[in-house]
């Protein structure tokens, strides 16, 4: 019951978040500087999501060497090939080999 209520609340809240800025700004032309700022904000948020989801060491709560190596490998492959599957696969292999 608790889980169902939480899911309902989170679903409604997430739906409202997605509608919020779309509805508020739909018919307004944003100044270029604002559009630029929003794109960079999204990029920084994605980077933060990566960082916060990396496996960390128990003592210092910093990413493990295997996680850093795997992230680096995925980054290099993604930039060179633009192939998502290859980037993820190589990143996982490097991480699995070193962890």
């Amino acid at each position: 019951m608790n889980a169902a209520a939480a899911l309902c609340a989170a679903t409604v809240g997430t739906f409202a978040l997605r509608q919020l800025s779309v509805r508020a700004l739909a018919n307004r032309e944003l100044p270029p500087v604002v559009g630029h700022a929003l794109r960079h904000a999204a990029l920084a948020v994605m980077a933060a999501l990566v960082m916060s989801s990396l496996p960390t060491t128990e003592r210092l709560d910093l990413p493990t060497a295997a996680a850093i190596a795997g992230t680096g490998a995925a980054c290099v492959i993604a930039r060179r090939t633009r192939n998502l599957a290859a980037a993820i696969a190589i990143g996982l292999v490097v991480y699995a080999a070193l962890r």
Binding site: A10, G13, A26, A37, A42, A48, L92, Y95
Partner: protein, 234 residues
């Protein structure tokens, strides 16, 4: 809304094809992520049906894990929901960046349903694939096709993860799927020095702050500031 410099709007029938191709290209990133989230959800005490419903209803892997993880650890429903909603606050930023494409010239059904498909992947795909010169109809066809396919893929792979989670060998590094997917998604879009700085700000925000929700807020503000400064100085 886009970094694209193409000047001519592409033909409409191609928009759905492009959306489908973009979604299929994203599948290798979505499938392992959905699988990993499903496996993690299977490990929790909530019913499999509730766990799975979080996929089509929320379409937000990290928030799904936070929500059901909090419930699993005994939290009341409101704090658990609030934590998940806070984690999804980034959708406001994505929505603001895409808002021009959801103007009143679009049909009401699209303005009601379309935003449900705003996720990290569809935002990044739109940034890469839709040019300023593309019409609103082209965007609508592209976005609905890609969004529906990704939504269905996400729901299906989370279901598979919940089902097979208990029998998967522990050697599979599922804990690394999420960061690997996001890195693969954003790495090709980083081309300028101030974009590198933006990424570093996002990473440092996590190390410097106590909670992931605070980190996302700090990252958003820092990234926006760098974007604004970069625009003014270029």
């Amino acid at each position: 809304m886009t970094t694209n410099t193409r000047t001519e709007s592409r033909p409409l029938p191609a928009a759905r094809t492009r959306g489908a191709v973009a979604a299929l290209t994203m599948l290798p990133a979505i499938a392992p992520l959905g699988l990993a989230v499903g496996v993690a959800l299977a490990d929790m005490s909530t019913s499999p049906l509730i766990s799975w419903l979080s996929a089509p209803l929320m379409v937000a892997g990290a928030a799904q894990l936070v929500l059901l993880g909090q419930i699993d650890s005994g939290s009341a429903f409101l704090p658990a929901a609030a934590a998940a909603i806070l984690l999804n606050a980034r959708f406001v930023i994505y929505g603001a960046a895409l808002a021009r494409r959801f103007s009143t010239s679009q049909p009401a059904w699209f303005r009601a349903i379309g935003p449900h498909y705003i996720v990290d992947q569809t935002y990044a795909m739109s940034l890469n694939d839709i040019a300023d010169s593309d019409s609103d109809e082209t965007f609508r066809r592209y976005f609905m096709t890609a969004g529906t396919l990704l939504w269905a893929s996400w729901s299906a792979t989370v279901a598979v993860g919940i089902l097979i989670g208990p029998v998967l060998p522990p050697q599979i590094p599922l804990d690394f799927v999420l960061p690997a997917s996001f890195v693969a998604l954003i790495a090709p879009t980083i081309t300028r020095p101030h974009e590198v700085v933006t990424v570093l700000v996002g990473a440092v925000a996590v190390v410097a702050t106590a909670s992931s929700s605070t980190a996302l807020a700090v990252a958003a503000v820092g990234g926006a500031a760098i974007g604004a400064i970069g625009r003014r100085s270029s």
